[in-house]
């Protein structure tokens, strides 16, 4: 698990963890859906339990990609300009190149088939036992972020960002490292500038 500190956002603390070999993605997804539907006291407890952003790790090109989406979501929240219901769903929205919220959640959120997940928790202070609570929900293996690069599915990222015919990539054809660094730079920049993209 990694932790980021933001003094400019009232000392917000953001915890992120990467999981591999997740076996209960479908269950997680249905818990999120249930929590959103259930309005009573039960709903509250359940919402607390799943109060994270669950992100499909295959679509994240680098830790910076994730950090950038978190940053823009924090900024929107602080300015009272969230486009979605919570700062967690805002991270998913920030990751998606279009303005369609449903699409963002479908693409970047947890799906029934997900096996590689990133979990994000935005908090005002350090939450005790957070790591345990993450592990309570996710049946899988917490791995260090260095592993992320092996999980990334570059072809889907290229598709979502319409990068297949870009001259930047044609130029470095055959040089995989260079190509990935260019894609990462474009994707990170796109997330950062989403508010002024159009």
């Amino acid at each position: 698990m990694e932790t980021y500190y933001y003094s400019q956002f009232n000392h917000a603390v953001v915890h992120v963890a990467l999981f591999d070999d997740v076996t209960n993605a479908a269950a997680i997804r249905s818990r999120i859906v249930q929590a959103a539907r259930n309005l009573g006291v039960d709903g509250n407890t359940e919402r607390k339990a799943v109060n994270f952003a669950f992100i499909d790790a295959r679509l994240i090109s680098s830790p910076l990609h994730l950090q950038t989406a978190i940053y823009q979501a924090l900024l929107s929240e602080a300015q009272g300009q969230l486009r979605t219901k919570t700062v967690h769903s805002e991270i998913l929205w920030a990751l998606n190149p279009t303005n369609n919220i449903t699409e963002a959640i479908r693409r970047y959120g947890v799906s029934d088939e997900s096996t590689k997940l990133i979990v994000v928790r935005v908090d005002v202070s350090n939450t005790p036992e957070l790591q345990r609570r993450m592990c309570d929900i996710i049946q899988g293996r917490m791995v260090p972020f260095q592993v992320l690069s092996q999980m990334t599915d570059w072809s889907i990222i290229k598709k979502h960002y319409k990068l297949d015919s870009e001259s930047a990539l044609k130029e470095v054809q055959g040089n995989l490292d260079r190509e990935r660094s260019i894609i990462d730079n474009i994707v990170v920049s796109s997330v950062a500038m989403k508010s002024v993209m159009t």
């Binding site: 698990m1 990694e2 932790t3 980021y4 500190y5 933001y6 003094s7 400019q8 956002f9 009232n10 917000a12 603390v13 953001v14 915890h15 910076l64 950090q67 950038t68 940053y71 823009q72 924090l74 900024l75 929240e77 602080a78 300015q79 009272g80 700062v87 935005v122 005002v124 202070s125 350090n126 790591q131 990068l163 870009e166 001259s167 930047a168 990539l169 044609k170 130029e171 470095v172 260019i182 730079n185 474009i186 990170v188 920049s189 796109s190 950062a192 500038m193 989403k194 508010s195 002024v196 993209m197």
Partner: protein
């Protein structure tokens, strides 16, 4: 949860904690860190050391009080958006430019990748303290790493071909001019006009020796041959006014540009000759 009515906006707080690098007519440039970071999983209170991740460059377009408030606000938005879009267009077209790291149009701040390196102006003779560079003897050994910003990091020369040794990579002035020509050509092929090409607005990145074009504050989209020719002319003037004996240098830039532009070169060359004759401006009726 995080919004607070009493305290300053986050981006203002960020600027407050940042280092001011330079102050221009329309913007102030800062070096800042967007977040601090620990891998321990324990918080600040547990004594774990916090590291800052990569630095970013913040370009803060501050309020201009002579301008009507609503005009000022909308202009600042437009310009930040314009600069970000020009950078994105460059990136997608394979022009090497700084990546974008954060945008806050409400506060007028654009955060971009911090480029560790030196400007071409500083590297070339005449641009900075390297004026007597040709008097130094040639040094063959490769310097260990570029920890200190010394002359040795960037160049030691014999005559025309200054050798620049950065880490394990070395390049010559000719190769540098070549890179400049290629980057500008790629940018023009993407129909981006930089608007302020000078040797100060190009950097040689330390680790990779990439040539990075920077400061797209005046950039715009145009397909016109005229605009591209003027872009080149502005750079030619900048070379002439900053670097002694700039003619062969700029010729090197143009020849790489020509090669890269292929069939698009001829009309631009013709127009560049026109622009040189008339100066940048057309004659006006009083």
């Amino acid at each position: 949860m995080l919004s607070s009515s009493s305290s300053k906006p986050p981006t203002q707080q960020l600027l407050q904690s940042a280092d001011l690098i330079s102050q221009g007519a329309e913007a102030a440039i800062y070096k800042a860190y967007l977040r601090q970071f620990s891998t321990s999983g324990h918080g600040i209170g547990h004594g774990a050391a916090l590291e800052a991740l990569e630095p970013v460059l913040l370009k803060y377009r501050f309020r201009k009080h002579y301008r009507h408030l609503s005009l000022d606000t909308s202009l600042t938005r437009q310009r930040i958006a314009g600069e970000a879009r020009a950078l994105m267009r460059c990136m997608r077209s394979g022009v090497i430019v700084p990546g974008i790291r954060m945008v806050d149009v409400n506060e007028g701040v654009l955060g971009i990748e911090w480029i560790d390196g030196k400007s071409v102006r500083q590297i070339l003779p005449g641009g900075a303290e390297l004026e007597d560079i040709s008097e130094l003897g040639e040094v063959d050994e490769i310097h260990e790493n570029g920890a200190a910003d010394s002359i040795a990091d960037y160049g030691v020369s014999r005559g025309r071909t200054v050798r620049m040794l950065i880490g394990s990579y070395s390049t010559s002035v000719d190769a540098l001019m070549d890179m400049i020509g290629v980057e500008i050509a790629k940018m023009h092929l993407a129909d981006i006009i930089h608007g302020d090409l000078t040797t100060s607005n190009m950097m040689l990145r330390k680790q990779t020796s990439d040539l990075v074009l920077i400061d797209f504050g005046l950039a715009y989209h145009s397909t016109l041959v005229e605009d591209k020719a003027v872009d080149l002319y502005v750079l030619e003037r900048a070379f002439a006014s900053t670097h002694p004996d700039s003619e062969p240098l700029f010729a090197g830039v143009l020849s790489a540009y020509e090669k890269r532009m292929c069939k698009h070169w001829l009309p631009i060359k013709k127009r560049l000759d026109d622009v040189r004759l008339r100066g940048r401006k057309r004659s006006m009726v009083g």
